[in-house]
């Protein structure tokens, strides 16, 4: 039943988008002019409410609309920073004033957002955040540190999870804020990784200020609000979106979009290597004359089997979601399999290299690519939820294994044992 309705609506949506594009798309507009038009039309965020720059369509229509934009080579809304996650959280938990103030510039790209959740002391255990927000009249004074913050260096605003009460259990003492990143109390420093790249930042709060009005929901509701953000993050993670890298055309608006994308993607230039570059394995083995080695062939074959199985498993997961399921903890299977692929690829690449695996830079194969694969090995087992956390999720939520005894959730946070660093 649902399917038939969706199908009917899909064609209608396609027709509507096409009509609107035909009437409004103008390659001579500047990027910001076009984005203003787009935000007001509702086609920039089809699943948002019609009242708030959307069309009130089901979320499944987003990709349909995107496809039409893409096929017509029409520039869409900005994808930079954590704008999408911040918007989804504000839509769910913000007041009308928040929505009015923040949603539009999130779409146009006039303002960039970052997500301020992880801390040096709370990575896997996000609810253990220690950054304090202390009330001071109608504002809060923020002190502490966040880490792994993409785009913080170019962000105007951040969504911030901070502790407002140490005397209640950890999940109850957090509050959620929208914080102005352009203030003296905030310092952003790039965080260099072991492979030499700097994809993330550290953010230091030294008496930074946030207005009471910029808190989402009540004091102490922070964890509940953050859960919305995290759920959307997982959803976006599970359903791989087509990576739009611009249209490679000469008109000004395309050039402007390409620049925006380049800035957004720059810190992640090494991500293909992070995945392990399985595409290079066979050509390298053959070129280096090692494909005749039965032991190496077995290694490569194992990897391809793993990768192909992973692809099929993720297609099955996607199909299950489309057939009416919701993205659940099964996403951890794909995440863990991906980490295995990266790790094994790095290993087999260096087997193929032999002693050349010692080399980097100009002396090395593919100008450092193999070195970069190797030096990025651990990333996929850590980023976006460590392997350990993924395995806990599978064991407890999918396999129903009993939880560990816990001593950190049922007592005032100030009494919970903390890092002894």
């Amino acid at each position: 039943m649902t399917e038939t309705v969706s199908l009917a609506t899909e064609q209608q949506v396609r027709d509507d988008v096409r009509d609107w594009i035909a009437l409004n798309w103008n390659v001579k507009l500047s990027l910001s002019e076009w984005r203003e038009l787009l935000a007001d039309s509702g086609w920039g965020a089809p699943s948002w409410p019609a009242r708030w720059y959307g069309k009130g369509l089901p979320a499944t229509m987003n990709s349909i609309v995107e496809e039409e934009f893409f096929n017509a080579q029409v520039v869409g809304v900005t994808r930079k920073g954590a704008n999408r996650l911040a918007a989804q959280t504000i839509l769910a938990h913000g007041t009308d004033a928040h929505k009015k103030r923040f949603l539009r510039p999130m779409l146009t790209g006039a303002e960039t957002w970052c997500q301020l959740f992880s801390e040096p002391g709370s990575g896997s255990d996000l609810a253990g955040a220690m950054t304090r927000a202390v009330r001071d009249g109608d504002r809060y004074i923020v002190n502490g540190q966040k880490v792994w913050t993409s785009m913080a260096h170019i962000s105007d605003w951040g969504i911030l999870l901070a502790r407002t009460d140490m005397d209640v259990p950890k999940h109850q003492g957090l509050s959620f804020f929208l914080i102005d990143m352009r203030q003296p109390g905030i310092e952003v420093r790039p965080l260099r990784q072991m492979n030499g790249h700097a994809s993330f930042n550290e953010v230091f709060f030294d008496n930074a200020v946030v207005n009471e009005n910029d808190r989402l929901e009540d004091e102490g509701d922070g964890w509940r609000v953050a859960t919305t953000t995290l759920l959307n993050e997982r959803r976006n993670f599970d359903v791989a979106s087509k990576k739009h890298t611009g249209f490679d055309r000469q008109e000004q608006i395309y050039v402007e979009e390409a620049e925006e994308i380049a800035v957004a993607l720059a810190p992640h230039s090494w991500y293909p290597q992070r995945e392990g570059r399985i595409d290079l394995l066979l050509p390298r083995a053959i070129e280096r004359g090692k494909f005749g080695d039965a032991a190496l062939r077995q290694e490569i074959a194992r990897l391809f089997v793993l990768q192909r199985c992973r692809e099929m498993a993720s297609q099955r997961a996607r199909a299950a979601i489309e057939a009416g399921g919701t993205p659940g903890p099964e996403g951890s299977v794909g995440k863990l399999a991906g980490a295995r692929v990266s790790r094994e690829c790095a290993r087999v690449h260096t087997i193929i290299s032999g002693a050349d695996a010692m080399l980097d830079g100009v002396d090395s194969e593919l100008n450092g690519t193999v070195a970069e694969i190797f030096l990025s090995t651990p990333a996929n087992s850590l980023a976006g939820g460590t392997d350990e956390i993924q395995k806990n999720i599978l064991a407890e939520r999918v396999l129903g294994m009993p939880k560990e005894p816990r001593n950190d959730v049922d007592r005032p946070f100030k009494g919970v044992p903390k890092n002894a660093l």
């Binding site: 391809f304 089997v305 199985c309 294994m401």
Partner: protein, 373 residues
């Protein structure tokens, strides 16, 4: 490609699952495996009568239901989960698929309807040495004495061979040496069938000796090696489904035990080391399951790279199943190493399946050479 089962397919699966839960319980497997035949005729007849199991993927033209390999693989998955011991794999999968793929229309009309009804059982005789499971490896020669084809030599690992009414034999035709498919009646006095004692008593195999045995050629003129290999790849995919079912059964059993077994005042399943190993195993099995399911669907979609998909599935299922078997014993602890505990029944099947129809190494080698070509 259809990535998830339809409602009908799930209902079908559920139905056969419930049947086997009762009629292929571990106590019934144990007692059946002690009989000379090795399986329970009544249960097989019920499977034929109530579920028309042998008809599943035989085309309607030959009296079957005309379902796809997807449905046959669903059956295999449930049979593997329950460790069903009966002539399903030998007759319904191996022999029927070779006939369906490689026999002439006339022969299909003659042979398949009998198999479909469950009146007759067939078995496939192809392997002559271990590690050789494809048409190109066959060396047995069929000679034509004018009236009949005659077979001489020995075939190994003939699954469900002792209970079969006739054998489907892969051999080379004298003179040109092209691969042909032959039918031999089990009643033929020149035939000797000896059981090969296996580690897995739930899947019987035999060694068959042919001594100038009369045979009927059921394939068309010319080499049908490719058709035989197609059938073997399809059977391999069913085997993978069976293995995934078995691996899932093991993991479920380990998890259930880990919830009720307490040591140090806690269910052992609350210890993180076990949790993480269970999660790793779950990933292994989910990956193998995806491969087995997709491979079956690809056959039904008429895809061309079936041998690739079959090899991927076999490599993945082999490791997942054996890991599941080892981990399950370890989860149970000492009790898992006892005869009384059921785990070893699947433990045996895991190894036996790993090396059946081509080892994981062989499949990886075939696969990687195909994609590098």
């Amino acid at each position: 490609m259809q990535y998830v089962l339809t409602e009908e397919q799930n209902a079908f699966r559920e139905m056969i699952h419930r049947f086997l839960e009762v009629h292929s319980s571990s106590s019934r497997i144990r007692s059946a495996s002690l009989t000379e035949l090795g399986w329970d005729r009544d249960v097989w007849q019920q499977l034929c009568a109530e579920f028309e199991v042998p008809a599943t993927c035989v085309p309607e033209a030959y009296g079957g239901h005309g379902f796809g390999l997807t449905e046959l693989a669903i059956l295999a998955e449930e049979m593997g989960r329950a460790l069903y011991c009966g002539p399903f794999f030998g007759s319904t999968v191996l022999a029927s698929l070779v006939i369906s793929n490689g026999a002439t229309d006339e022969m299909k009309k003659l042979l398949l309807p009998e198999l479909v009804k469950g009146n007759k059982l067939a078995a496939l005789a192809i392997a002559e040495t271990c590690d050789r499971w494809r048409a190109a490896d066959v060396t047995m020669v069929a000679t034509d004495d004018g009236d009949h084809w005659r077979l001489n030599g020995e075939k190994l690992f003939v699954v469900d061979g002792l209970g079969a009414d006739f054998l489907i034999v892969i051999a080379r035709c004298a003179a040109k040496g092209e691969i042909g498919i032959f039918k031999v009646s089990s009643r033929d006095q020149s035939l000797s069938r000896l059981e090969m004692q296996g580690i897995d008593r739930t899947r019987r195999m035999s060694r068959v000796r042919f001594n100038n045995t009369q045979a009927t050629k059921i394939s068309r003129a010319g080499d049908v090696g490719d058709l035989v290999d197609d059938a073997l790849d399809q059977a391999t995919i069913c085997l993978c489904a069976e293995m995934v079912g078995g691996a899932e059964r093991l993991l479920e059993s380990a998890i259930e035990y880990s919830k009720v077994r307490f040591q140090f005042g806690r269910p052992i399943g609350s210890f993180q080391a076990l949790k993480h190993r269970a999660a790793d195993l779950f990933v292994d099995i989910e990956l193998a399951k995806a491969a087995a399911r997709c491979a079956a669907t690809a056959v039904d979609d008429g895809d061309e790279n079936i041998s690739e998909l079959a090899s991927i599935a076999k490599a993945a299922a082999s490791e997942a199943y054996m890991s599941a078997a080892l981990e399950t014993v370890q989860f149970y602890g000492g009790i898992g190493f006892t005869w009384e505990n059921d785990t070893h029944l699947w433990f045996r099947r895991a190894k036996s399946s790993e090396v059946f129809l081509g080892t994981a190494d062989w499949h990886r080698e075939r696969f990687i050479k195909q994609i590098a070509a």
